[in-house]
């Protein structure tokens, strides 16, 4: 079995199983662990609406925090959006998702995929440089660095494979698929679960603030 056959077969299969099982495990594991409803009265007539609204209102730092956090907020958004468009927008990825789910949609031209992939990688590098240069702000753990590498590898290997740079194409493709498999398997057990947690975290804070304090 060649490296590519292994990557496309058992490796990606196992990693997707781990990812799906892991996400289900952690999501339900936390959500079923609720402490019960908040029996206090909400602060105003809006009730819990303002609480749920916080999921969206916290998408951008508020008022006095806007200026000092502007750079990293913008770069982080650029990274997330570019990566998302690359993952769901380029034709080989759509083929893979279609083979799994049967859903399909038109893809981007290759030059756009390369441009967005490069932007995603550049923003990722900008973010790690900021993390490394400001230890007082970022109190980084080993998990932060490991996660950065695991996220960067599919971007780097994908761009190299497409550009036919580095090892032979089928080897680079195998490495790209293997690094994606690693990312999938690692995701549920790391900080990358923030993809799901952020909704509940913000909602919980919002609901708590909607109940705390004097009625207005």
């Amino acid at each position: 079995m060649s490296l590519l056959e292994f990557a496309r077969g058992p490796a990606i299969h196992a990693s997707l199983i781990i990812m799906v099982a892991g996400i289900a495990l952690r999501l339900l594991g936390v959500l079923v662990l609720t402490r019960g409803a908040d029996l206090s009265r909400p602060r105003d007539a809006f009730g819990n609406f303002k609480g749920y609204r916080m999921v969206f209102s916290r998408a951008w730092p508020s008022d006095e925090f806007t200026t000092p956090t502007r750079y990293q907020t913008i770069v982080a958004y650029i990274f997330h959006v570019a990566t998302l468009i690359v993952v769901v927008g380029i034709v080989p990825h759509i083929e893979f998702i279609a083979s799994l789910t049967g859903l399909s949609w038109p893809g981007l031209p290759n030059w756009m995929g390369v441009a967005l992939g490069t932007i995603a990688l550049a923003s990722l590098i900008a973010l790690i440089l900021r993390r490394l240069s400001k230890p007082a702000v970022y109190n980084s753990t080993r998990g932060d660095y490991v996660t950065w590498v695991i996220v960067a590898l599919p971007l780097i290997t994908g761009l190299m494979a497409f550009a036919h740079v580095g090892l032979r194409y089928e080897t680079m493709l195998a490495l790209h698929i293997l690094s994606s498999a690693l990312l999938f398997a690692y995701m549920p057990f790391s900080k990358l679960m923030h993809a799901f947690w952020f909704v509940f975290s913000r909602a919980q804070s919002g609901l708590a603030y909607a109940h705390k304090g004097v009625r207005i």
Binding site: M1, A21, L25, L31, V91, P109, W111, Y169
Partner: protein
């Protein structure tokens, strides 16, 4: 042809001018990426080449490789060259049959000990009774013939990598020739069938220089298998622009757009089809509207569907994924419920003791 003593005599008697012959030599030298100065030496040596003995062993094959080679347009210098070789044993082309044929083979092996070339098409079954010739199993005949051979050339994917007989579930336990013979120089010329020019190119190099061509890590001559078909495909601009045929005979297919979504394996296939083409440069599968099936790659029959693109995973349906999701959810929810019950129990105990 048996009366011509050298290749030069043969070609002249067939009306091939010296000029045409020199052109052939320089073209072949260029194709094999040999230095320009080799062409005159090649002409000199080829013209005075004596007929080498070649034994062609056909095992678990479909004869497609022979068909590809002998169907090249005649008369071309390639086919004459092939006719010049003393083909002492070939099931399809030989006149003799039965004991006579086998004796001819044994005699050729004996007389040319250490100097004859063995060309093999078809894979070798390890369960020996599945394929025999004159009562001799393929495995045995291969070992006998290889013992006194100068080199072995595997013609076609079956002998080079196992091919169709070795595809799942491999009922005959077929293996490539390279798994059996490990002590002789082996060149693989894969393809289903291989490019005729690749076969004659390797033989031409062997006749003139006495060496086998430079090969890649799968034993394929770099001159013909060193490049990705995707890199030489004339439809590449459409791949780059993201214009794909979605089904056969749709608008994209009629406009000649890229066949990536219809399962074209060109990005992971190495062969000369896209620039040398077939039938004297007429066309090749992609030009005719069908994606490359990757026939020069090992295990290509088992590498997923012919119409399934390179980017898809190879794991059947997603049933296991569904099961994993349910299992994960059950374990997670179960663990959380147990934790809540334990907390409630501990709280109750606290209240009871107070």
């Amino acid at each position: 042809m048996a009366n011509e003593s050298t290749l030069g005599h043969l070609l002249r008697s067939q009306g091939i001018s010296r000029r045409a012959f020199l052109k052939f030599c320089s073209t072949t030298a260029t194709l094999l990426a040999l230095p320009a100065g080799v062409a005159p030496a090649m002409a000199e040596t080829l013209a005075s080449a004596r007929r080498p003995s070649v034994i062609w062993l056909s095992f678990q094959e479909c004869t497609g490789c022979t068909e590809a080679l002998t169907r090249s347009h005649s008369p071309t210098i390639e086919s004459l060259l092939f006719g010049f070789i003393s083909l002492d044993y070939h099931h399809t082309l030989q006149a003799a049959s039965g004991d006579h044929a086998e004796h001819a083979r044994e005699q050729a092996q004996h007389e040319n000990e250490g100097k004859y070339l063995v060309l093999v098409d078809g894979s070798v079954p390890l369960v020996e009774h599945y394929s025999t010739i004159a009562g001799i199993s393929n495995l045995q005949m291969l070992k006998d013939a290889a013992a006194g051979a100068a080199a072995i050339i595997n013609v076609g994917t079956c002998s080079a990598y196992g091919g169709l007989p070795m595809a799942r579930p491999n009922p005959t336990d077929a293996v490539p020739v390279g798994d059996i013979i490990t002590d002789k120089p082996i060149v693989n010329i894969p393809g289903c069938p291989p490019m005729p020019l690749a076969i004659t190119g390797v033989i031409a190099q062997y006749l003139t220089l006495g060496t086998l061509p430079e090969v890649d890590d799968l034993g394929r001559p770099l001159a013909f298998f060193g490049e990705n078909i995707h890199d030489r495909c004339y439809r590449r601009p459409f791949y780059d622009r993201g214009l794909f045929a979605e089904t056969f005979d749709d608008e994209g297919a009629r406009k000649g757009w890229c066949l990536y979504k219809l399962g074209c394996k060109a990005p992971v296939s190495y062969n000369a089809c896209a620039h040398v083409k077939w039938n004297n440069g007429v066309s090749f599968p992609i030009q005719s509207g069908h994606g490359c099936i990757g026939c020069s790659e090992p295990r290509f029959w088992d590498a997923g569907g012919i119409y399934q693109s390179v980017a898809t995973g190879q794991f059947g349906d997603g049933a296991k994924l569904g099961a994993a999701a349910v299992a994960g959810a059950a374990i997670g929810a179960g663990a959380a419920l147990l934790a809540r019950r334990k907390k409630a129990r501990l709280d109750a105990e606290d209240h009871a003791t107070q």
